[in-house]
Amino acid sequence: MSEKEFLAKALESKGLEPGDLVEVVSSDGRMLQGILMPHHEFSGGDIVTIKLGSGYNVGMRLRDPDAIRLIMKAETGKPLKAKIMTSSKAGGRSALPKISIVSTGGTIASYVDYRTGAVKPAITADELARSVPELADICTPKSEVLYSILSENMRPKNWSELAERIADHLNSGSMGCIVPHGTDTMGYTGAALAFSLSNLTGPVVLVGSQRSSDRPSSDSTLNLLSAARVCLDADLGEAVVLMHSGPDDEVCTIHRGTRVRKCHSSRRDAFETINGAPLGSVEGGRILLSADHEKRSNGKVLSDPRFDDNVAMLNFYPGLTAAKLRKYSDGASGLVIAGTGLGHVHQELIAEIARLTADDIPVCVTTQCIGGSVNLNVYSTGRDMLKAGAIQLGDMLSETAFVKLSWVLGHTDDIGKCREMMLLDMRREMGLRRPL
């Protein structure tokens, strides 16, 4: 029996559960009383964690099942729930414009269960909205929890459902839609919503946080409030990502959903618009938008979120062989290769590109460089890739290329049609100019 099993058994045999007041006798005879806490994933197998009267948690080794005993069962019923008193119930408030909040999960919608210490995704979207009571001062939030998932667990089918829900919300009178989302794949979802939704009557604002909202220093408050301002005040009909502009809690940047990438693993200002200027910014409630943006339409919002969920994407790397590429792309309906520099791959792979293309499997090429455009005309490798049928996607982000190819293949099987659509700038995902 492993230590962990022994421990679980010892606790179970005594009917002990997290939350119970217990007494533990250590190997050297010390007796400690405290609340039994849940086992931490990284705790030693034979460790019980108890919360002492001082509030500190300490780990105690339990070698003998009789060294722990129950003093008092935890009070049953739900753990204490936070109550928020807002003035939003006051009658006049309902006259404020309506904003939808369709939550998908992630850090912004996670909280720590303080009884157990576990970080849990998603309270209700309503609670999320109300955790920033200032929201109720400027709008009537209409909230829905669609998912409670971390963004690395999103799939193309989630993009589809999300797009449908957003369209419903906007078509029933919301000024805009805020989508709380995990930051890891927020850029992908931004692109997915951009391609899926058209005729937007208001902004669709993906918003996340790099510091969870249970922390006093969370960036979620400013991000959410700024997102609400964009929904209310911006004449904008696009899917965007809104996050901090810098380390300060002052300015947020509005990024176009098809042009944004998470460029840092932890900073508040992790998101950047690549190959161009951001769409705009929000500071102190004031919005600045660049001239180049889609305005609100009169409706109705159209949602066309069919995605092929069988597209593959990979970074070329030195040593990638044709055999490996073949294995990887086996069964895929389309492939995005992020090549080196201007978009290159090893010349050995060119025949593989030709074979895939001949099989009606589109092979799109982007660059794995942070910025810049692909250009396969410059070197012979590139020219050979083009001859083999590669579709070069200019300065489109690899992630956006992947999402777009998934969306395009959700609409056509025809490789010619696919090529045409991939090269058509549909949602400002490609730029012809990259200013100095």
């Binding site: 001082s54 500190y56 105690m60 936070a82 790099q210 380390p247 809690d249 932890s266 900073r267």
Partner: protein, 628 residues
């Protein structure tokens, strides 16, 4: 005062010692160094999060938020972790080991697994809004020669950011201090006299330094004193930095609590059970008052408010021993509301307030000879809030001594700062994995146990024929190891002892971080003195410059122009002085020596050895006197 006196009062003192470690920061790889060079600034807001507030009142939140904007200054020594832009790394194993080592030294039993917690702090001193802290060991003891003092807990926590400036709306913090590991040692309330408290604090400090893993200099060790007497209350004086002032803080707190107990008894004897606290507005009646404070308040559209304190006459002024009583207590509470202070009837008429005005106030308030009143002049909002706080304090006086946290003042007294915090809200720090204390770790720690201070003293006396005082000073300051090392580098014990016992502590007192001088650099400097490159008198000046300007010995020597005056230069300088003062010498004879030495030293200090100057001077004076 005799120990019996404190024992009869039931004095109990417990100490919490916070010592910064020099192991590198607790949750990142930054050094434990402070800097005056700010490289970046950023602004943040903190807000109480819903989950731990239980209930957030809309208005309270708004109020809170106004004050919760902070400017942070970062220095070259800080990284994304201090800026709360990156999750904490695993806890420094060096800091953990040092804490376990200290635990071992005071026989405290470590927990089997160390779990870091978040203690919510939203005053801006932590960028994250919480302080990370872990309980490492419990139930230790400190053997003092006369008794055993209990050590309740030893914790390892991160230090907070430094408060640099405040301007009403925003507070500026520097994050260089944030994240420096702090060992917190909490004793049981086992001390019974003020002196005992000092000795225990000193002993713990000595043990900490014996680990050789602690930071030095101002602010690197801070004490919180928990003080109570029978019939009084537990009061915490937080952040004492001067060891020698501990007895005074304790003594003054005993006197304060004693006086407040007497006030309570007197109020009870007078039959006072409560303070009604009805405010009256005297702005109109006092608009022509001669008091400057009142003129200023009324002139800028403010108000003059007063409250009667029935039965409080004579209890606000200092008692017959001079111990300040309710006047000062209420004034400090009023100041929390932002006013400069208040007037109380025991001190009036005075400060420009006349007898007639006092009579008028009494008649408006309807109070008599046995009653007191307080008066505040400021903006209406501030004056109202200040009076309410002062009245709340007066009400506490009826019940006795309130539990509270107090700030130490430089004169050995303390001032009200806030109510005792409730039990801290602590939540698991989920970003930091727990640390299992293994048998292997404890074996390693056992091997690290340092030579005990008293043993080092004995050894230093024996091996280097230092005096007891010198040896103790070396050990107390923690420079004993450096002393050993520098001697083994072939330097003379005299110059090393002088530098480490006198010069270094003096530099520290001036606020200089002597830690920046490495052993090798210091040895280099002293070797130059040994070689006669410059004189030992120049050492303090040179080291100070090297620390302040981060200069090498060569650079600093050149800048200060210290490099040795040659014997010829010394002779020349002294000849000049002698020539100028010839008459004086002839007049005073031998007694001219001391004043002339003063002049010579002024010119030659640091450039030549005092002994040489003395010799030359004495020779030259004698020559003149002989010529006579």
């Amino acid at each position: 005062m005799a120990d019996d006196y404190y024992i009869s009062l039931g004095l109990m003192v417990g100490i919490e010692i916070h010592q910064q470690l020099s192991t590198g920061k607790l949750f990142c790889s930054c050094p434990c160094e402070l800097s005056e060079k700010v490289t970046k600034r950023f602004e943040r807001a903190l807000r109480p999060s819903v989950s731990e507030m239980g209930e957030i009142d809309r208005a309270a939140l708004e109020e809170a938020q106004k004050k919760l904007r902070f400017t942070y200054e970062a220095t070259e020594f800080d990284c994304l972790v201090e800026a709360d832009e990156e999750p904490p790394h695993s806890a420094s194993s060096k800091a953990i080991r040092t804490t376990l080592l200290l635990s071992k030294m005071v026989c405290a039993t470590p927990v089997d697994e160390i779990e870091f917690m978040r203690k919510i702090v939203i005053d801006g001193s932590n960028t994250s809004g919480f302080q990370r802290t872990a309980l490492v060991s419990m139930m230790g003891k400190l053997d003092m020669p006369w008794k055993c003092i209990g050590i309740d807990t030893i914790c390892l926590e991160e230090d907070a950011a430094r408060r640099i400036a405040e301007d009403g709306q925003s507070v500026v913090f520097r994050i260089d201090r944030l994240g420096i590991p702090l060992i917190e040692i909490a004793t049981a309330p086992d001390m019974r006299t003020p002196e005992e408290a000092r000795e225990v604090a000193e002993r713990i400090g000595t043990l900490l330094r014996a680990t050789r893993m602690v930071r030095r200099g101002i602010g690197s060790i801070r004490e919180d004193l928990n003080i109570s007497i029978s019939g009084g209350a537990r009061v915490e004086i937080k952040g004492v930095q001067e060891l020698d002032l501990i007895p005074e803080y304790v003594d003054n707190e005993v006197a304060r609590q004693n006086a407040l107990i007497a006030v309570r008894d007197e109020l009870a004897a007078r039959g006072i059970t409560d303070v009604p606290g009805q405010k009256v507005d005297l702005t109109g009646r006092m608009k022509n008052s001669g008091s400057k404070i009142i003129q200023k308040a009324v002139g800028s559209g403010g108000a003059v408010l007063a409250v009667g304190l029935p039965g409080f006459a004579g209890l606000m002024r200092p008692d017959s021993e001079g111990v300040k009583r309710l006047g000062r207590e209420m004034a400090f509470h009023a100041r929390v509301a932002g006013v400069g202070g208040l007037f109380h009837s025991d001190e009036l008429p005075d400060y420009g307030i006349t007898d007639e005005e006092v009579d008028m106030i009494r008649s408006v308030l309807g109070t008599g000879e046995n009653d007191g009143f307080i008066l505040v002049a400021d903006s209406m909002d501030k004056a109202t809030a200040a009076l309410e706080r002062a009245v709340a304090r007066a009400r506490q006086a009826v019940r006795g001594v309130p539990e509270e946290t107090r700030d130490p003042l430089p004169d050995g007294t303390s001032a009200y700062s806030r109510p005792l915090p409730g039990r801290a809200r602590m939540y698991p720090e989920t970003d930091v994995p727990p640390i299992t204390v293994t048998a292997q770790m404890m074996r390693e720690v056992e091997g690290m146990i340092p030579e005990l201070p008293e043993n080092i003293v004995a050894r230093l006396r024996k091996e280097h024929s230092l005096s007891k005082e010198q040896s103790e000073a070396l050990v107390k300051s923690g420079f004993d190891k450096l002393f050993d090392e520098m001697l083994s580098m072939g330097l003379s014990s005299k110059i090393v002892a002088r530098t480490l016992i006198n010069t270094m502590p003096e530099l520290e007192k001036e606020g200089l971080d002597v830690g920046v001088l490495g052993k090798d650099v210091l040895a280099d400097v002293l070797r130059r003195v040994d070689r006669g490159d410059f004189s030992k008198e120049g050492v303090p000046k040179l080291l100070a410059r090297m620390i302040e300007e981060r200069e090498s010995p060569e650079e600093a020597l050149a800048e200060l122009n210290l490099t040795g005056a040659s014997d010829i230069q010394v002779e020349a300088a002294i000849d000049r002085i002698i020539e100028e003062k010839r008459d004086f010498i002839l007049e005073r004879g031998d007694r001219a020596m001391a004043p002339l030495m003063g002049l010579a030293m002024k010119e030659l200090r640091g450039k030549a050895d005092g002994k040489l100057i003395n010799e030359v001077m004495s020779r030259k004076i004698n020559e003149i006197l002989r010529e006579k």
